[in-house]
Amino acid sequence: MSAEKMSFAQALNAALDDAMADDENVIMLGEDVADEQGGGVFKVSKGLSDKYGTKRVRSTPISEQAIIGAAVGAAITGMRPVAEIMLMNFITVAMDQLVNHAAKLRFMSGGQTNVPLVVRTTTGAGVGFGGQHSDMLEAWFAHVPGIKIATASNPADAYGLMRSAIDDEDPTILIENITHYGMTGPAAKPGYRVPLGKAAIVREGGDVTLITYGRGVGDCLKAAGQLADEGIEAEVIDLRTVSPWDEEAVLSSVAKTKRAVIVHEAVRPFGAGAEISSRIHEELFGELAGPVQRVASYPSPVPFAKPLETAFLYSVADIVHAAQQATEKKV
């Protein structure tokens, strides 16, 4: 934590390390997470079982229902498990535990039990993993009351969101983008927290608001750079938490710019962008200079072959184009 720069993987590792040092109720479980099994496929848990023991950092069988179930059970006794689901598509086998149990036990028990669970997972297209290893499923969880979902766009936020999610008394899913692990950025100070539900304005601008999260942040910043060359100043909002999302930050920015573009990697139809777009229209109708635009991936399974995978993923050019459209349209 003393380095000034830190990779995403290091930031996550540090967050887990610091949380485990601070609270012995923090435990970890997942496939291959212990050091004897390599400390995680992306080395995020490296060194932690050596340091805290394999009682607290447990490699599991390939049993995602049992992983989340065990985490839920431990959580309702007051432990703070961090469970890893290696890739987000594998979460499909554990939906029952997450949706019917983790998300609902506080409510169904009338507040007697709560589930301070963190689920780490990774995903993302563009690396040739094809149809079953690349999906972005955040919209599903955003539609489930009782669970939170967040994703960081830089190492410091990854640290801060992880710490907050572990602190939180309710279940949170943290998505790590598979293209991000090696990305470096300013290191977080030990103990740093990014509050869940709070967005960050990562670039200020008065002409159009680009609303995004995760990988989209870097892309929106790139697009904002190109737009600036054309004289369009884009404000870029990193939601960080997708649910509950920061309506206040979004609405006040769009109230100022009167134009919004939402960007995410998930496919467009029925994606998270739809909710954000709807809310903006509901709240700022009459103040907008044009309809809220959405930039997202093409609605197909994620293809393997490179040209198809490229056709699937939205591009920076798409963002620039949408922002141009948004700023051209006058009512």
């Binding site: 995602e64 059970g73 432990m79 506080r106 169904m108």
Partner: protein, 330 residues
Amino acid sequence: MNKPASSPSLSPDMARTIYRKAYLINRTDERFRAMLTNGELAVAYYPVRGHEVIAAAAMAALETEDYLVTTYRGLHDALAKGIPSRLLWAEFAGKRTGTCKGKGGPMHITHPETGVMVTTGIVGSGIPIANGLAMSSQIRGENRVAVASFGDGASNIGAFHEALNMASVWKLPVIFLCQNNQYAEHTTLAAGTSVSSIAERAAGYGMPGVSCDGLDPASVYEAMSEAVSRARAGDGPTLLEARTFRLLGHIFGADYSYVPKEDLSAAEERASMAKLRQWISERQVSEAELTQIEQEADAEIEEAVAFALESELPDPDEIRFDIYETEQAA
């Protein structure tokens, strides 16, 4: 697969405890069904007739701090584990005074004070959660064991398998209590399950598989006690099957004409409460004691019914609470 012999070593004290629990369950189930019949309540209810002894004897082998995860068919387990009748009745009636403020209802009873941690309506889903309770106990170095109670049909779902394998690999202090009542809704054991005794599945997980007679208090109590000792000693999980017969339809009001008459009457005979009373009375429990147990239980039920009926419904605004730690806007 070991079959423990029914042993007469059950103490009179324990016999008394088991009878008290079984009687309370039996009467509560009956009373509840009567209220559904006469329309005083209207709730989806999964009768527990035929399961009284399993719950009574199994939970008698546990401490209050031990954890339990049960299912929609869980009234017996909840009562036997010790949830006060009034709280349970109030929850079944959807009242604010219930265990879960009326939010959970009969399928989702929780009462951590007595160790009832989760009641699930999703077949098999509680089994992995029980592992988590046991894991917590193991990590913290507590002496608690966790029990997952489930049906024969549940042994065919993936969660069962994953949980048993994980528990075995980690030597978790957990007991997988399968209440085999021969039916999963309308499906017989043979029609849905590839083994005739669920305990046979234990071999696939390198853990002991024990089958006991769910209508015999000593058989259940002893098998359960052994599993509890094994768990507390750090020797890992047990798959314990308790055999019984579902004496009523799957859910209150449901058809059960498909259950062969002979099987049903044979099971009714074996599960007769009079027989149980007789069995207990042979274990140095006097008639006076039995009568007292019964009267106390009857009074507890009547008090609970009155409490449930008199209690208020939750306020609609209550919906905003307990979704997250922080309440939500209306």
